[in-house]
């Protein structure tokens, strides 16, 4: 008998695989969470390197460090990498680590699907980044890939489309896993309204993912057939409508914004009560506010495209609907502040990042409200003000919450406490840097600078704005501001800037 047992043990190695195979074949939610978080960190560095190229090129007007096409590729792929490669996988990693533990489940509901969801990601990004080495270069039409510009991309176009499909499939499978885990695997007694808010926000985020990622996949599939199968979904020459693409894209794109921020709300709702030493103020109102934000996110998409020429009724609807989102978001901010009110607060690194989040995300929220005002948006559209807005909500919002979460749960994950002094240095250096970087961008729109170039505004030069369309005065002289040469900065442009502009 003992001989038989020894033989059995010699032939079978019980327990997880060793070495690289452990990580490739793992179905353990903690291992997969770690993989997601490490992948997100890698992509964060890559996207950050692309941001450095962008800032270096824009350091001084007229600089020509990189080719104009490559510069446009940098802005495009920086966005795709940060959204689909850094922030979304980071939150999926947090969900993998925390959701089963928070609801008392032994693992995610579909562990093999979980493994597959993760391992699609590196292949998707390899495909996306491989386009840089193809004829025509990487994608350069912005992360929105609007036609007809995006259809002019070179040989990398189908690879980019397939990469987006892969990233979408990965997200949908991850979301399905989260929903099934939360709905079917809760421990006895763990009713929905007893779940931690991080679980609630992820449940709602997962529904948003399932509803919107297929819409993006559909849009890019139609782009693909427009390019290669002679369809005309978005080609005006064939009876299609390029603006329809914008509607479809933003029907995905706006809920995507909330996919990036709702889990952050969950993280902050976990951290603030801990360091204020009080229970979260208004738990149920937080749940309903999250659900309201998710619902409203589906009926506001056209605020991204006020300038395409919608009927006034449409502009008013989307303006008021967008403003309504401020109500549930305000509920959340007031609840966090009320949680801190008269609490025995301490300011360890996770709490610093959480308070930084509340303060600076609110700045981004207010600039969002300014953008929601349709007539004002005609001036802000496609300017650096928008860039400042979404970096305040995504960097000092989403990324800050990820930093807060990493510091907060790192001791639980690793068994080691981080260095508090280094953590605080990290927070203050980050906070000073992001404000030096992004706050002045608000006023770059006052100087009429377009978001994608270091020259005078599209408002006064390339885009036929309302000012430019005004008829001349009776004497035949152009009205002030109606001539692109009226911009003083334009006269100061160098030959290389003009060359770059003409090449676009």
């Amino acid at each position: 008998m003992s001989t038989a047992t020894a033989t059995h043990e010699e032939h079978h190695d019980h327990g997880p695989a060793k070495g690289l195979m452990r990580w490739i074949t793992t179905t353990n939610h903690k291992d997969i969470g770690t993989l997601y978080l490490l992948f997100a960190l890698t992509m964060f560095m890559l996207g950050g390197a692309m941001a450095l190229v962008i800032r270096a090129e824009l350091f001084q007007p007229g600089l020509q460090l990189v080719d104009p096409q490559f510069f446009n590729s940098m802005t495009t792929v920086h966005a795709l990498v940060m959204i689909f490669g850094a922030v979304m996988p980071a939150f999926t990693g947090l969900a993998n680590w925390l959701v089963p533990m928070m609801i008392g489940a032994p693992d995610m509901a579909l562990p093999r699907l979980n493994n597959f969801s993760f391992w699609i990601l590196p292949f998707g990004f390899t495909l996306l980044l491989s386009t840089f080495f193809m004829e025509g270069g990487g994608p350069a039409a912005g992360w929105t890939i609007y036609p007809p510009l995006s259809l002019q991309m070179g040989e990398g176009f189908p690879f980019m489309i397939f990469a987006i499909h892969l990233l979408g499939i990965s997200s949908i499978m991850g979301a399905i896993n989260v929903v099934v885990t939360i709905l079917n695997m809760r421990a006895p007694g763990m009713t929905l309204m007893k779940m931690p808010l991080f679980v609630w926000t992820w449940l709602i985020t997962a529904y948003l993912l399932i509803a919107t990622m297929p819409v993006l996949a559909g849009a890019v599939t139609m782009l693909l057939t427009d390019k290669f199968a002679a369809t005309s979904f978005f080609s005006a020459a064939g009876g299609g409508d390029p603006v329809m693409y914008q509607h479809i894209f933003w029907f995905f794109g706006h809920p995507e914004v909330y996919i990036l921020i709702l889990p952050a709300f969950g993280v902050i709702s976990a951290i603030v009560p801990t360091f204020a030493r009080k229970p979260l103020f208004g738990y149920s109102s937080m749940v309903y506010a999250t659900a309201s934000i998710a619902f409203l996110s589906f009926i506001v998409w056209a605020h991204h495209m006020f300038t395409v020429g919608m009927p006034v009724v449409g502009e008013l609807f989307f303006m008021y609907a967008t403003m309504m989102i401020a109500v549930p978001t305000g509920v959340k901010v007031f609840n966090w502040v009320s949680t801190m009110w008269r609490g025995s607060m301490t300011f360890e690194t996770p709490m610093l990042f959480a308070i930084g989040f509340i303060f600076m995300f609110t700045i981004g929220g207010f600039s969002g409200l300014m953008l929601a005002i349709a007539p004002a948006d005609f001036q802000y559209h496609d300017t650096y003000f928008v860039v400042a807005h979404f970096h305040y909500v995504l960097v000092t919002g989403a990324v800050y919450s990820i930093m807060a979460a990493a510091y907060y749960w790192l001791p639980k994950w690793t068994g080691h406490m981080y260095d508090e002094k280094l953590g605080k240095i990290h927070f203050w250096v980050s906070t000073i840097s992001v404000n030096v970087l992004f706050f002045p961008q608000h006023s770059r729109s006052a100087a009429s600078c377009s978001a994608s170039r270091n020259c005078c505004s599209s408002i006064s030069s390339t885009r036929p704005s309302r000012v430019a369309r005004r008829p001349p005065t009776r004497s035949g002289k152009a009205r002030p501001g109606s001539n692109s040469n009226s911009c003083p900065r334009r006269r100061r442009t160098t030959a290389s800037t003009r060359l770059r502009r003409s090449s676009r």
């Binding site: 509901a109 579909l110 699907l113 949908i172 979301a175 399905i176 896993n177 929903v179 099934v180 709905l183 079917n184 695997m185 399932i210 509803a211 919107t212 990622m213 297929p214 819409v215 996949a217 559909g218 849009a219 599939t221 139609m222 057939t225 369809t231 005309s232 979904f233 009876g239 299609g240 409508d241 329809m244 479809i248």
Partner: protein, 38 residues
């Protein structure tokens, strides 16, 4: 059928329903645009 097997079946069924919803959105949006002039 054990509790574990029943749980597994419920998980797979719910996952299939959600996957069908995602596929419906995907093909639905393309079909609506085919009708609209694609």
């Amino acid at each position: 059928m054990t509790d574990r097997a029943r749980q597994k079946r419920r998980n797979i069924l719910l996952a299939l329903v959600l996957a069908l919803v995602a596929l419906a959105f995907y093909f639905g949006f393309i079909l609506v645009n085919v009708q609209g002039g694609g």
